[in-house]
Protein backbone atom coordinates (compact mmCIF):
# COMPACT_ATOMS: atom_id res chain seq x y z
CA UNK A 1 0.00 0.00 0.00
CA UNK A 2 1.20 3.43 -0.84
CA UNK A 3 1.29 5.84 2.04
CA UNK A 4 -0.26 8.82 0.36
CA UNK A 5 -0.24 12.17 2.04
CA UNK A 6 -3.71 13.54 1.40
CA UNK A 7 -3.69 17.28 1.09
CA UNK A 8 -6.20 19.90 0.08
CA UNK A 9 -9.20 21.56 1.60
CA UNK A 10 -11.45 18.49 1.11
CA UNK A 11 -14.32 20.46 -0.36
CA UNK A 12 -14.19 18.58 -3.66
CA UNK A 13 -16.63 15.77 -2.92
CA UNK A 14 -19.00 18.00 -0.96
CA UNK A 15 -19.28 20.41 -3.89
CA UNK A 16 -19.54 17.57 -6.38
CA UNK A 17 -22.55 16.16 -4.49
CA UNK A 18 -23.99 19.64 -3.96
CA UNK A 19 -23.89 20.32 -7.71
CA UNK A 20 -25.85 17.13 -8.40
CA UNK A 21 -28.41 17.52 -5.61
CA UNK A 22 -29.16 21.11 -6.65
CA UNK A 23 -29.44 19.91 -10.28
CA UNK A 24 -32.08 17.35 -9.26
CA UNK A 25 -34.06 19.97 -7.31
CA UNK A 26 -34.02 22.24 -10.37
CA UNK A 27 -35.02 19.48 -12.82
CA UNK A 28 -38.01 18.62 -10.61
CA UNK A 29 -39.09 22.26 -10.43
CA UNK A 30 -38.62 22.88 -14.17
CA UNK A 31 -40.70 19.80 -15.04
CA UNK A 32 -43.42 20.99 -12.63
CA UNK A 33 -43.57 24.49 -14.17
CA UNK A 34 -43.36 23.09 -17.72
CA UNK A 35 -46.22 20.70 -16.94
CA UNK A 36 -48.30 23.56 -15.52
CA UNK A 37 -47.67 25.67 -18.63
CA UNK A 38 -48.48 22.80 -20.99
CA UNK A 39 -51.64 21.70 -19.18
CA UNK A 40 -53.08 25.14 -18.47
CA UNK A 41 -55.02 26.62 -21.37
CA UNK A 42 -53.98 30.27 -21.28
CA UNK A 43 -51.66 32.08 -18.91
CA UNK A 44 -53.26 35.33 -17.79
CA UNK A 45 -52.28 37.45 -14.80
CA UNK A 46 -54.76 35.82 -12.40
CA UNK A 47 -53.67 32.27 -13.26
CA UNK A 48 -49.96 33.23 -13.08
CA UNK A 49 -50.15 34.98 -9.69
CA UNK A 50 -52.55 32.32 -8.46
CA UNK A 51 -49.88 29.70 -9.08
CA UNK A 52 -47.23 31.56 -7.08
CA UNK A 53 -49.64 32.67 -4.35
CA UNK A 54 -49.99 29.02 -3.36
CA UNK A 55 -47.68 28.63 -0.38
CA UNK A 56 -46.29 25.27 -1.49
CA UNK A 57 -45.42 26.62 -4.95
CA UNK A 58 -44.00 29.80 -3.43
CA UNK A 59 -41.71 27.83 -1.11
CA UNK A 60 -40.78 25.39 -3.89
CA UNK A 61 -39.88 28.40 -6.06
CA UNK A 62 -37.58 29.78 -3.37
CA UNK A 63 -36.02 26.33 -2.91
CA UNK A 64 -35.45 26.21 -6.68
CA UNK A 65 -33.81 29.64 -6.70
CA UNK A 66 -31.67 28.76 -3.67
CA UNK A 67 -30.52 25.58 -5.43
CA UNK A 68 -29.86 27.64 -8.55
CA UNK A 69 -27.66 30.12 -6.67
CA UNK A 70 -25.63 27.36 -4.97
CA UNK A 71 -25.28 25.62 -8.35
CA UNK A 72 -24.23 28.90 -10.01
CA UNK A 73 -21.66 29.55 -7.29
CA UNK A 74 -19.92 26.19 -7.77
CA UNK A 75 -20.05 26.53 -11.55
CA UNK A 76 -18.79 30.13 -11.63
CA UNK A 77 -16.09 29.34 -9.06
CA UNK A 78 -14.80 26.51 -11.27
CA UNK A 79 -14.85 28.68 -14.39
CA UNK A 80 -13.06 31.56 -12.65
CA UNK A 81 -10.51 29.17 -11.09
CA UNK A 82 -9.77 27.63 -14.49
CA UNK A 83 -9.41 30.72 -16.64
CA UNK A 84 -8.39 33.67 -14.46
CA UNK A 85 -4.71 33.29 -13.70
CA UNK A 86 -4.14 36.64 -11.98
CA UNK A 87 -4.70 36.01 -8.26
CA UNK A 88 -6.18 39.35 -7.19
CA UNK A 89 -8.52 39.47 -10.19
CA UNK A 90 -9.64 35.91 -9.44
CA UNK A 91 -10.35 36.81 -5.82
CA UNK A 92 -12.24 39.94 -6.86
CA UNK A 93 -14.40 37.93 -9.28
CA UNK A 94 -15.15 35.31 -6.62
CA UNK A 95 -16.27 38.03 -4.23
CA UNK A 96 -18.34 39.71 -6.96
CA UNK A 97 -20.11 36.42 -7.79
CA UNK A 98 -20.85 35.69 -4.11
CA UNK A 99 -22.20 39.18 -3.48
CA UNK A 100 -24.32 39.08 -6.65
CA UNK A 101 -25.83 35.71 -5.69
CA UNK A 102 -26.63 36.88 -2.14
CA UNK A 103 -28.30 39.98 -3.59
CA UNK A 104 -30.30 37.77 -5.98
CA UNK A 105 -31.44 35.64 -3.04
CA UNK A 106 -32.70 38.70 -1.13
CA UNK A 107 -34.35 39.97 -4.32
CA UNK A 108 -35.98 36.55 -4.88
CA UNK A 109 -37.64 36.66 -1.44
CA UNK A 110 -38.90 40.17 -2.20
CA UNK A 111 -40.28 39.05 -5.58
CA UNK A 112 -42.00 35.92 -4.29
CA UNK A 113 -43.50 37.50 -1.18
CA UNK A 114 -44.05 40.97 -2.59
CA UNK A 115 -47.17 40.73 -4.72
Amino acid sequence: MVNRVVTGAHYGLRDWIMQRVTALVMVTYVLFIAGWLLLGSSVDYDAWTGLFANNVVRSFSLLFLLALYCHAWIGMRDVVMDYIKVAHLRLALHVAVILALIMYLIWSVQILWGF
Binding site: V27, V30, Y45, F52, A72, G75, V79, A100, Y104, F115
Partner: protein, 124 residues
Protein backbone atom coordinates in the same frame (compact mmCIF):
# COMPACT_ATOMS: atom_id res chain seq x y z
CA UNK B 1 12.50 14.32 -19.87
CA UNK B 2 13.58 17.15 -22.09
CA UNK B 3 11.14 19.96 -21.32
CA UNK B 4 12.21 21.99 -24.32
CA UNK B 5 11.49 19.44 -26.99
CA UNK B 6 9.77 20.91 -30.04
CA UNK B 7 6.01 20.69 -30.23
CA UNK B 8 4.02 20.42 -33.37
CA UNK B 9 0.34 21.11 -32.98
CA UNK B 10 -1.46 20.77 -36.30
CA UNK B 11 -4.12 23.27 -35.33
CA UNK B 12 -5.92 22.97 -38.66
CA UNK B 13 -6.27 19.22 -38.24
CA UNK B 14 -6.89 18.88 -34.52
CA UNK B 15 -10.60 18.50 -33.86
CA UNK B 16 -12.39 18.15 -30.56
CA UNK B 17 -14.60 15.08 -30.34
CA UNK B 18 -18.30 15.92 -29.92
CA UNK B 19 -18.46 15.00 -26.20
CA UNK B 20 -15.73 17.58 -25.56
CA UNK B 21 -17.68 20.22 -27.47
CA UNK B 22 -20.85 19.40 -25.49
CA UNK B 23 -18.85 19.68 -22.27
CA UNK B 24 -17.39 23.04 -23.34
CA UNK B 25 -20.81 24.34 -24.34
CA UNK B 26 -22.11 23.23 -20.95
CA UNK B 27 -19.70 25.75 -19.43
CA UNK B 28 -20.52 28.46 -21.96
CA UNK B 29 -24.28 28.02 -21.51
CA UNK B 30 -23.90 27.98 -17.72
CA UNK B 31 -21.97 31.24 -17.86
CA UNK B 32 -24.60 32.81 -20.15
CA UNK B 33 -27.37 31.72 -17.78
CA UNK B 34 -25.51 33.22 -14.82
CA UNK B 35 -25.06 36.51 -16.67
CA UNK B 36 -28.73 36.67 -17.66
CA UNK B 37 -29.94 36.07 -14.07
CA UNK B 38 -30.65 39.75 -13.23
CA UNK B 39 -32.79 40.19 -16.36
CA UNK B 40 -34.65 36.94 -15.73
CA UNK B 41 -35.37 37.93 -12.12
CA UNK B 42 -36.56 41.31 -13.36
CA UNK B 43 -38.92 39.53 -15.77
CA UNK B 44 -40.30 37.37 -12.97
CA UNK B 45 -40.76 40.41 -10.75
CA UNK B 46 -42.68 42.33 -13.40
CA UNK B 47 -44.81 39.33 -14.35
CA UNK B 48 -45.99 39.02 -10.73
CA UNK B 49 -46.01 42.56 -9.32
CA UNK B 50 -49.25 43.92 -10.77
CA UNK B 51 -51.61 43.58 -13.72
CA UNK B 52 -50.09 46.80 -15.15
CA UNK B 53 -46.49 45.51 -15.13
CA UNK B 54 -47.74 42.14 -16.43
CA UNK B 55 -49.40 43.80 -19.43
CA UNK B 56 -46.43 46.12 -19.94
CA UNK B 57 -44.19 43.04 -20.07
CA UNK B 58 -46.29 41.61 -22.90
CA UNK B 59 -45.42 44.72 -24.93
CA UNK B 60 -41.72 44.64 -24.05
CA UNK B 61 -41.46 40.98 -25.06
CA UNK B 62 -42.83 41.85 -28.52
CA UNK B 63 -39.64 43.76 -29.27
CA UNK B 64 -37.17 41.86 -31.53
CA UNK B 65 -34.26 42.57 -29.14
CA UNK B 66 -36.04 40.91 -26.22
CA UNK B 67 -37.07 38.02 -28.48
CA UNK B 68 -33.45 37.60 -29.53
CA UNK B 69 -32.33 37.67 -25.89
CA UNK B 70 -34.98 35.14 -24.88
CA UNK B 71 -34.02 32.84 -27.77
CA UNK B 72 -30.39 32.93 -26.61
CA UNK B 73 -31.40 32.20 -23.01
CA UNK B 74 -33.69 29.44 -24.28
CA UNK B 75 -30.84 27.70 -26.11
CA UNK B 76 -28.46 28.12 -23.14
CA UNK B 77 -31.10 26.66 -20.84
CA UNK B 78 -32.01 23.74 -23.13
CA UNK B 79 -28.39 22.86 -23.74
CA UNK B 80 -27.43 23.13 -20.07
CA UNK B 81 -30.50 21.07 -19.11
CA UNK B 82 -29.92 18.25 -21.65
CA UNK B 83 -26.15 18.11 -21.18
CA UNK B 84 -26.66 18.17 -17.38
CA UNK B 85 -29.00 15.19 -17.52
CA UNK B 86 -26.42 13.40 -19.70
CA UNK B 87 -23.73 14.06 -17.07
CA UNK B 88 -26.02 12.80 -14.30
CA UNK B 89 -26.61 9.60 -16.30
CA UNK B 90 -22.86 9.16 -16.81
CA UNK B 91 -22.36 9.64 -13.04
CA UNK B 92 -24.74 6.72 -12.55
CA UNK B 93 -22.66 4.64 -15.01
CA UNK B 94 -25.15 4.86 -17.88
CA UNK B 95 -23.64 5.42 -21.32
CA UNK B 96 -20.02 5.39 -20.24
CA UNK B 97 -18.73 3.41 -23.23
CA UNK B 98 -17.13 5.50 -25.97
CA UNK B 99 -19.73 4.78 -28.67
CA UNK B 100 -22.61 5.46 -26.27
CA UNK B 101 -21.00 8.65 -25.00
CA UNK B 102 -20.56 9.92 -28.57
CA UNK B 103 -24.14 9.03 -29.44
CA UNK B 104 -25.57 10.69 -26.33
CA UNK B 105 -23.57 13.87 -26.93
CA UNK B 106 -25.04 14.00 -30.44
CA UNK B 107 -28.51 13.58 -28.94
CA UNK B 108 -27.86 16.45 -26.52
CA UNK B 109 -26.97 18.76 -29.41
CA UNK B 110 -29.95 17.67 -31.55
CA UNK B 111 -32.59 17.67 -28.79
CA UNK B 112 -31.53 21.01 -27.28
CA UNK B 113 -31.46 22.70 -30.70
CA UNK B 114 -34.82 21.17 -31.64
CA UNK B 115 -36.45 22.31 -28.41
CA UNK B 116 -34.98 25.79 -28.90
CA UNK B 117 -36.36 25.99 -32.45
CA UNK B 118 -39.71 24.56 -31.37
CA UNK B 119 -40.16 27.11 -28.58
CA UNK B 120 -38.43 29.85 -30.59
CA UNK B 121 -41.07 29.49 -33.32
CA UNK B 122 -43.83 30.03 -30.75
CA UNK B 123 -41.92 33.02 -29.36
CA UNK B 124 -41.42 34.74 -32.70
Amino acid sequence: MNEKRPKHLALRHIKFPLPAIVSGLHRVSGLLLFLSLPLLLWLLQHSLRSIETFTELGGILQHPVSKLFLTGVLWAFMHHFCAGIRFLAIDLDYGVKLAQARASSKWVMVVSLMLTVLMGVRLW
